[in-house]
Subunit: 467 residues, 2 copies
C-alpha cells in the first residue's frame, strides 16, 4: 500500500489546493472522471457563461429595435459556438492534467475512490493510505426516476451533457426553477430555440428576494413559455422527438412536444460512492459531508470542502474554502474558518440577477428592523440610455447602524454592479458614507446603486434626503 | 431694483442647488439659454450616452461574429433615435423650467446676466441685487477661427448641435483627441458613418494613463480612420459637402472630403460675458473663476461652482460642488470643502475607459514608489466568455501602505467595474483586504479587478501570491 502525506479526492477545487506550498508533500490526487478539472471548468460556471454571451448577442435585436437600430439575427452556429467553447475548455482541462501528471510530488490516480478504513482509500486495484485526506468530490445534477425515461434517454439531458450536443433543439423543455434552469432557458431561448420552462412550484428563483424573483419570472415569461405548478409525470418518444407529460395540482395532464428535455431540478452531493462509513465520516440530511468551521470531518485527518460539504454550491465559495483548507493543512496549530457572512450569488440569465445578504422576507421572518429602497434603472441617466424597463436595485439596511443587510439587483450588469455592495457589507461600511463619501461617475450605471443608497437614507430621514 | 436673498446664474447644477432647504429664501435663477437645465442634460453627458447605447448595438455584429452569432445591421434610424432621445430630454427640460417657474420662492430670469457692481446683476432690462450670488454658468465647446469656416458654417458642428442634426452624415471628420471626440467617433462610427478623427498631437486621451491611451488609440483605429499630428488649416465647400484641409508637422497638406465637420477641441468656461470685473471677481489662466476651497470667489458673497470654476469638467464633480455650496450658503459659520481626492472619469466610447487616481506617468514624475499590475480581461473566465481581446485593468498601489494610487480600466463595463476601486481609494481600504476580504462572484466580470489586486500583491511578494 502506497502511503502519502496528503490524498485529495477530486480535481476541481481539489486540484487548486495543491499549490507550490505543498511541493515537499507527497500527494495523491484522485479523479474518477475522464475529464480533469471538475464541474466549474468542464460542465458548470465557465462553459455556461461562454454560451450566455452569444445568447445575449443573439437576443439583442429586440433591444436594438426599441432603440432605433435594426439588427437582424441571421442565425447562430451552434456547432461553431460549441466547438469554440469546448476547444478551449478541453485544452485547458487536458493541459491541467498533463501539468499535474508532471508534478514531481503529485501522483494522479484515475478512478473512483472509496474509503477502506479511517485513513485508507481504494481506487480500482490500488489501495493507498494518507496522513491527511481532503474530500472535494463536488456535486452532480440530480436525476429523476420517471416512467418512460429509459426509452428516451438519448433526448434527456442535464447540465452535464446538454452543452455538448451536436444540434441545438428546435424545441426544448426545461424542468426546474433554479438558476441552472434560468440560465439554460436564456442560452437556448436567446439562440432561437422554442423553450418551455416547467416548474413544480409556483415560483422561479425561490431563494431570491421575492420582488426580484417575481420580476425575473415576469420578464422571463416574455421570452420563454413558463408553465408553473406542474410536475413531470412521464415521458415518451414520438417520432424524432419526445412528449413530456405533466400534471398540475388538480390532476390535469398536459403534454409538451419537444426535441429534448433538460432536467435542471437540483444537484446532489458526490458523497454516496465514497464508502464514508468505513472511515467514520458523517453526512448531513442533504448528503453533505458534515464539517466543522475549520473543514474537519468527523474523522480525524479527513477534511472536506466545496460542493460535497458546503451549503453553498458556488465556485467562489469553494475557492475560499480551498484557501482555508490549504492554510489549515499547512498550519495545524492555527486553524482558520471560512467567512460565510456575505456570500454573493448571481444568475446569468436574461435578465441577470445578483444578490448578497438577506432577503426582505428573511428580515421580516427574523424580526430584524430594516429600511428598504428600490431604485429603478429607468430613473437614472444610464437607464434612460438603455431605455430600460423593469430592472431595479433593491437595498435593505439597518436604520440604526446604517449597515447594509441585503442587496438585490435585477438587470444589465447586475453581477458587476453588486461588487461595491459586497465590499461595503464585508467591511462594514455605512450607507451614508457609501452614498456620499465617494464619487459615482455620471452618467454611468452605478448611479443606480448610488440612488438606491440615497433612497435608503430618504426612506428613513426624509428631511435630509442624503444631500 | 429687485432684491433677492440669493441669485443663481445658470440652470444646470445651479438649478439643483435651489432645493427645499431654500424654500424660505427669495431666489433669482437666471438662464440665458432658451433651453433649461444646462449642458449635462441638454447637450452633454446624458444625450451622448443615449446615443452611445444604440451605437454599441449597431456595432455589435462584429463582436457577435467572433462568437458564432450572425447578426446583421440592416440600418439605424437616426431621426427616430434623435427624436426619441430629445423627445425625452426636451420634455424633462421643459418640465423642469415649468416646475421652477411655479416655485413660489424662485423668480426665473431669461437672459444673459452681467455684473454691474459687487452684488448687482443686469439681465436685459432687469437689474437685481442679491445678498448671495452663485455663478454656475458652465462651459461651452471651443470654437475655432479658420479660413473658410463662415462659408461652411452649416456643415460645421460642435457637441452642442451635432446630436440634433436631421441626417446622419455619410462621412464625418472629427477634430480633437479628448473624450468628446472619442465618444462621437464611436457614436457615428458605430451607427455606420465613415469617421475620420484628426488630432493635432500624436495621442488621444492624453490625460489618461499612457498604456490605456495607447491601447485605446490602437483599438479605435480599427474602427475609424485616425490621422494624428495634423492641424486644421482651412475648410471649403465642395458640392453638398466640405473639404477639410490639414497640415502635418512637415508642412504637408492633406484633404478630407466629408458631409460634416465636428469640432471637439476643448471647452471654454462661460466666464467671459459676466462682466466679472465690475464685481471684482478674478479668473484664472484658462478662464476659470478663481474660488477658494469653500467655493468663495474673490468677491464677498459671490460663489462659483461647476465647469465655470472647477478644474474638473464633470457633472459628478459639479454635483459634489453643488452640495458643498448648498451647505456653505446654509451654514455660513461651518464652511465645508469639496473632496477632490479621488475623482473618477470615464470615456463612453468603444472601448470604454474609466480611471481614478494617478497615472503611472504621474507617479514616476512625482517619484512616488509604486507597484503595478495589469490584468487582461482575456485571462479571467468572463473574459473567456467575451472572447475578449485587448482589454485590461491596470492598478497602481503603494507597496508599503497597500493603498491604491490609481486604477485604469479599458474594456466592457469599465465605468461600472471601477466603482469598487473608487470606493477602496475613497475609504482607504488596503489591497490585500480588498482582494481577499470579500467575495468576488465567479465567473462575473469583477474577477478581472480581483485578479489585478492579486497581481499587485504578487508583484510585490511573489511567495505569497495573495493566497
Amino acid at each position: 500500500m502506497q502511503h502519502f502525506d496528503l490524498a485529495v479526492i477530486g480535481s476541481g477545487s481539489g486540484n487548486s489546493l495543491i499549490d507550490e506550498r505543498f511541493s515537499d508533500w507527497n500527494v495523491a490526487l484522485i479523479e474518477r472522471d475522464p475529464v480533469f478539472g471538475g464541474t466549474c471548468l468542464n460542465r458548470g460556471c465557465i462553459p455556461t457563461k461562454m454560451f450566455v454571451i452569444p445568447a445575449d448577442l443573439a437576443a439583442s435585436p429586440a433591444e436594438a429595435k426599441r432603440l432605433g437600430v435594426d439588427l437582424r439575427r441571421e442565425g447562430s452556429d451552434w456547432r461553431a459556438i460549441r466547438d469554440r467553447i469546448f476547444g478551449r475548455i478541453d485544452a485547458v482541462s487536458a493541459g491541467g492534467l498533463d501539468w499535474r501528471e508532471r508534478s514531481e510530488n503529485v501522483t494522479v490516480f484515475h478512478g473512483e475512490a472509496s474509503f477502506t478504513g479511517p485513513k485508507t482509500l481504494k481506487i480500482g486495484d490500488d489501495e493507498i493510505s494518507a496522513d491527511q485526506i481532503v474530500i472535494a468530490t463536488g456535486s452532480r445534477p440530480r436525476r429523476l426516476d420517471l416512467p418512460g425515461l429509459d426509452e428516451v434517454a438519448d433526448l434527456v439531458y442535464t447540465s452535464d451533457d446538454i452543452m455538448r450536443i451536436d444540434k441545438r433543439p428546435q424545441r426544448l423543455v426545461i424542468v426546474g426553477g433554479g438558476y441552472i434552469a434560468a440560465e439554460f432557458a436564456h442560452i437556448f431561448g436567446g439562440l432561437g430555440t422554442d423553450v418551455t420552462l416547467i416548474n413544480r412550484s409556483d415560483r422561479l428563483l425561490r431563494s431570491y428576494d421575492r420582488e426580484v424573483a417575481d420580476q425575473f419570472q415576469h420578464l422571463l415569461s416574455q421570452k420563454v413559455k413558463l408553465r408553473l405548478n406542474q410536475a413531470l409525470s412521464s415521458v415518451e418518444r414520438e417520432g424524432d422527438g419526445i412528449v413530456v407529460v405533466t400534471t398540475d395540482r388538480n390532476g390535469i395532464e398536459y403534454e409538451y412536444f419537444a426535441d429534448g428535455l433538460l432536467l435542471a431540478i437540483g444537484r446532489d452531493r458526490n458523497s454516496d460512492a465514497l464508502n464514508l462509513a468505513a472511515a467514520g465520516i458523517e453526512t448531513r440530511s442533504a448528503g453533505q459531508i458534515r464539517v466543522d468551521a475549520e473543514h474537519r470531518t468527523s474523522a480525524p485527518g479527513v477534511w472536506a470542502m466545496g460542493d460535497v460539504s458546503s451549503d453553498h454550491l458556488l465556485k467562489h465559495v469553494a475557492n475560499a474554502e480551498t484557501r482555508t483548507v490549504q492554510h489549515n493543512l499547512l498550519h495545524p496549530d492555527d486553524l482558520q474558518e471560512t467567512d460565510y457572512r456575505y456570500v454573493p450569488h448571481a444568475v446569468f440569465s436574461s435578465p441577470q440577477v445578483a444578490a448578497v445578504g438577506a432577503t426582505e422576507e428573511q428580515l421580516r421572518q427574523w424580526g430584524v428592523p430594516y429600511v428598504v429602497a428600490t431604485q429603478r434603472y429607468a430613473d437614472v441617466a444610464y437607464g434612460w440610455a438603455l431605455e430600460d424597463e423593469g430592472h431595479f436595485v433593491k437595498l435593505l439596511a439597518d436604520p440604526s447602524s446604517w449597515h447594509l443587510l441585503g442587496a438585490h439587483i435585477i438587470g444589465p450588469q447586475a453581477s458587476t454592479l453588486i461588487q461595491p455592495l459586497i465590499q461595503a457589507m464585508s467591511f462594514g461600511q455605512r450607507v451614508p458614507d457609501l452614498a456620499r463619501g465617494q464619487y459615482w461617475i455620471h452618467p454611468a450605471l452605478p448611479e443606480v446603486v448610488e440612488n438606491a443608497l440615497l433612497g435608503l437614507l430618504a426612506a428613513h430621514q426624509p428631511a435630509e434626503l442624503g444631500k
